[in-house]
């Protein structure tokens, strides 16, 4: 049976994707014309990546149909997508670093000589010619991919897609790590590609770029399509309004980042001139009972600031004062002993010990273990009663103290992780994406906990989050990051969600404003 339809080049019709009870895509229609640059925007969690993963065959939708040039297709594997000429250039470029440029471009389609062996001469010559013709730059095709710059890697990735005969190029946040010049070059390549009648799907947080390069935009919000419209008919404010679903109020001038009653509270944490490869001269303060949010797009250095403060990554320069006293933090142990703790973003790889029992996970940090033991020995009942206290405090649901964390839900795992750090009675708590991958119900429980920690227990909290509603709900002050620098600081009352989104996605690097 063949359903034939007309008009659109790619037609994703009424796509539904659910994970357990969580609906990520709710009957989304996504129509793309041949030869257009179609932008896809939305806040984090809106469903952009899921939609793209479905189109590129990485995951399967629960419902919905996909048509290519009017013909119903089933994209059940990335290879199927390749064969149909759909290529994704992901944010994390998946090239083989130990192979040369030429080998990467021709991977799997190497030119052969008469003996059936790879014709290396031709391979390298072709690669260089192709890259030169398409992009107008020279890259040594015998160089190892690992030695190339991010921008050149991206070009190789695109060259490979062209080699495969791709007609649809999906670019996911392609400019996140590029310089202005490189972005310009990339845009030219994209436009050239379009001139040849090919199609581009462009995903980005940077709305100004989208305005510049795109023809048409589709806005997603909470797993639903809000609108598909020609970009010339829209302005930035309108796009932001669609993305957040909120009308933008009277615009607060960006200059109005006033320093408000400096004397209000006690300063807990003072960071000055924090500097390493990822973090550029960061200054920040956290006051007693304050929730300071750090916002910025992916790759802006949100987690890296926390990692530098807590001694996880080393820093070249920088001074940290805790309650007015200068402290030296060279490793996680120093940070923990000083009561500065970091609850990492990726709990499975950096936080939880999946195979170890719950009670051990709650106590597993240097300070708590030492407090609860004598000469390195501990008593099991002391451990268990202490852990039980925190399980009750945070309302963690566990079948027993001995259950391995493996079998807990994401929300409960996250609570275990938070509990573990509360056992050290910290002064400053840095929470990195504390509610990622957690059910809505538990999410609100977390908000309450975070609020209580700040307002009742007077802890200083740094909240790193990519979810703007979460920031708007919790934060007292918001720090905006771009490329490892603080570009703006706002008091929450001076900004609304739509404005915040605009600032994050559009503000150019300016002189930092100190708070």
């Amino acid at each position: 049976m063949r359903e034939v339809r007309q008009n659109y080049y790619i037609e994703m019709q009424s796509i539904v994707k659910r994970y357990a009870t969580n609906t990520v895509l709710d009957h989304v229609d996504f129509f793309v014309n041949k030869g257009e640059i179609h932008c896809l925007v939305g806040e984090n969690g809106a469903g952009k990546s899921t939609l793209i993963k479905i189109l590129s065959g990485i995951i399967q939708p629960n419902e919905g149909k996909i048509f290519m040039e009017g013909v119903r297709v089933k994209i059940d594997h990335p290879n199927t997508a390749h064969r149909m000429g759909i290529s994704v250039i992901p944010q994390e470029l998946n090239l083989l670093n130990k192979l040369t440029v030429g080998e990467n471009v021709f991977l799997g389609v190497e030119p052969k000589n008469s003996l059936g062996l790879i014709n290396w001469e031709e391979l390298y010559r072709k690669t260089e010619n192709q890259i030169y013709q398409e992009f107008g730059i020279k890259i040594d095709s015998r160089e190892l991919i690992g030695d190339l710059s991010v921008s050149n890697k991206q070009l190789v990735m695109i060259a490979r897609a062209l080699q495969w005969g791709s007609k649809v190029l999906i670019l996911d946040e392609p400019t996140a790590r590029l310089s202005k010049e490189e972005i310009k070059r990339l845009f030219e390549i994209i436009r050239n590609f379009r001139e040849k009648g090919n199609t581009i799907i462009y995903i980005s947080h940077h709305l100004e770029e989208i305005k510049e390069i795109g023809d048409i935009v589709t806005v997603l919000r909470d797993g639903k399509r809000v609108i598909t419209e020609k970009l010339q008919n829209l302005n930035l404010d309108k796009i932001i309004e669609y993305m957040t679903g909120k009308k933008k109020g009277t615009r607060v001038s960006l200059a109005k980042t006033v320093i408000e009653d400096e004397t209000r509270k006690k300063k807990l944490l003072e960071v000055r001139g924090m500097l390493n490869e990822k973090v550029k001269n960061i200054d920040l303060d956290v006051y007693k009972g304050e929730i300071l949010a750090i916002a910025g797009v992916t790759g802006s250095g949100r987690s890296e600031i926390a990692r530098a403060i807590c001694g996880i990554d080393h820093h070249e320069k920088g001074e940290i004062k805790l309650m007015g006293k200068k402290v030296k933090i060279r490793n996680p142990v120093d940070a923990i002993r000083n009561g500065i703790i970091y609850v990492p973003e990726d709990r499975k790889s950096q936080g939880i010990f999946l195979k170890m029992p719950v009670f051990m996970n709650i106590l597993l940090n240097e300070k708590t273990l030492e407090n609860l033991s004598t000469l390195g020995f501990y008593l099991m009942h002391v451990f268990k009663t202490t852990a039980q206290k925190f399980i009750d405090l945070l309302n963690i649901i566990v079948p027993s103290l001995d259950t391995p964390c493996l079998s807990l839900s994401g929300g409960n795992q996250q609570k275990v992780l938070l509990g573990k750090w509360l056992t050290v009675e910290p002064t400053v708590i840095i929470l990195d994406e504390p509610t990622r991958g957690i059910d809505v119900g538990v999410k609100f429980e977390f908000y309450e906990i975070i609020n209580k920690l700040a307002k009742k227990q007077n802890k200083g909290i740094i909240l790193i989050s990519s979810e703007l509603p979460e920031i708007m709900k919790l934060a007292d002050r918001i720090l905006i990051l771009k490329k490892g620098k603080v570009v703006k600081t706002y008091f929450k009352k001076n900004i609304n969600e739509a404005e915040l989104l605009q600032v994050i996605t559009t503000v150019e690097e300016e002189n930092e404003t100190k708070c």
């Binding site: 170890m356 079948p399 079998s407």
Partner: protein, 315 residues
């Protein structure tokens, strides 16, 4: 909830009981296969034979729990045995033993130091040590059998506790108990599991991952030194090849005992079961007069089965 209960039952059932179930089955097979198997003399003999392997496996278990591996234990046994036996006539029993134990500890610590400091893969590092210390053993021992005549040294293995438990068995049980205590009741033990389970998370939690790893290799080396002394006293000789094969036997025992080679999961109780399985099998083979070559094939297959079993369990 139901799933959790199921999981707990599964873990309890699978983790140790199965190993001891297998042990029990093998024991029954042994009893029915040969009349001499069940004699108290033979059983004591088995225990005496496995005691060396148990000591080495305890050390190996520490290392494997951190996600590492120690291929050098066999060579360290040979090296230390040769050195101690050479030293006895001049330095006397006590001092020679002290030197032997320190030597084992030191070479183990060097393994650990290089692994944690330079981030060398444990397999590579201990593989090099395996070659190096085997070379040292041959150099000092000159490849000949060196007899030990010193009575106080021979007494180490010849005496017994309460007249029934052979001294070697007692040593291995002490080592086992201390090891179990370290693993299950000390901060160091938690660190071992944490490093093996998730090294990055352990580092973020303020665990000193480097020293923890270093110490496990030092323990393994120390126990190899101890095993060398007991073995040379038991056999009344020192020989440059006397430790050959122990590294693989100890790894096998730990694997059969259910400790994952990836680290972070396992226990000494399981390893004890693994050691006993290996020892009893060998005894049965010997009683049946099966050739050592066939024994080797069978041992390899049994380890493979154990690993396949462990794989199934973790699913």
């Amino acid at each position: 909830m139901k799933q959790n209960v199921k999981l707990i039952v599964k873990r309890l059932f699978y983790s140790y009981y199965n190993i001891y179930l297998i042990l029990f089955v093998i024991f029954i097979i042994g009893l029915s296969s040969h009349h001499a198997f069940g004699s108290s003399r033979n059983l004591m003999n088995i225990l005496r034979q496995v005691s060396i392997l148990l000591i080495l496996s305890v050390g190996q278990n520490f290392v494997i729990l951190t996600g590492g591996i120690d291929l050098s234990v066999g060579s360290i046994v040979s090296f230390v045995a040769v050195v101690v036996v050479t030293l006895i006539p001049t330095y006397g029993t006590f001092l020679s033993i002290l030197i032997g134990l320190s030597l084992g500890f030191a070479v183990g610590a060097i393994n650990g130091l290089i692994i944690s400091k330079f981030k060398i893969m444990p397999f590579l590092m201990t593989f090099c040590s395996y070659i190096i210390y085997q070379g040292f053993a041959l150099l000092f021992g000159e490849g000949v059998c060196m007899n030990v005549y010193e009575p106080s040294y021979l007494k180490i293995s010849a005496s017994s506790v309460f007249g029934i438990i052979p001294a070697t068995v007692a040593y291995s049980l002490i080592v086992f108990s201390v090891g179990a205590l370290l693993l299950s009741r000390t901060i160091f033990g938690i660190g071992v599991y944490a490093v093996g389970g998730n090294e990055e998370a352990a580092r973020l939690s303020g665990i000193n991952t480097g020293p923890t790893k270093l110490l496990t290799y030092a323990i393994s080396g120390f126990l190899a030194g101890l095993a060398a002394i007991i073995l040379s006293s038991l056999l009344q000789i020192g020989h440059a090849l006397m430790g050959v094969g122990y590294e693989l036997d100890s790894i096998a025992a730990v694997c059969i005992g259910g400790t994952l080679l990836t680290g972070g999961e396992g226990s000494l109780i399981g390893t004890l079961g693994g050691v006993l399985i290996m020892g009893i099998l060998k005894n049965i083979f010997n009683l049946q007069g099966i050739s050592p070559y066939v024994q080797q094939i069978a041992t390899g297959m049994i380890i493979l089965l154990a690993v396949l079993f462990a794989k199934k369990k973790s699913k």
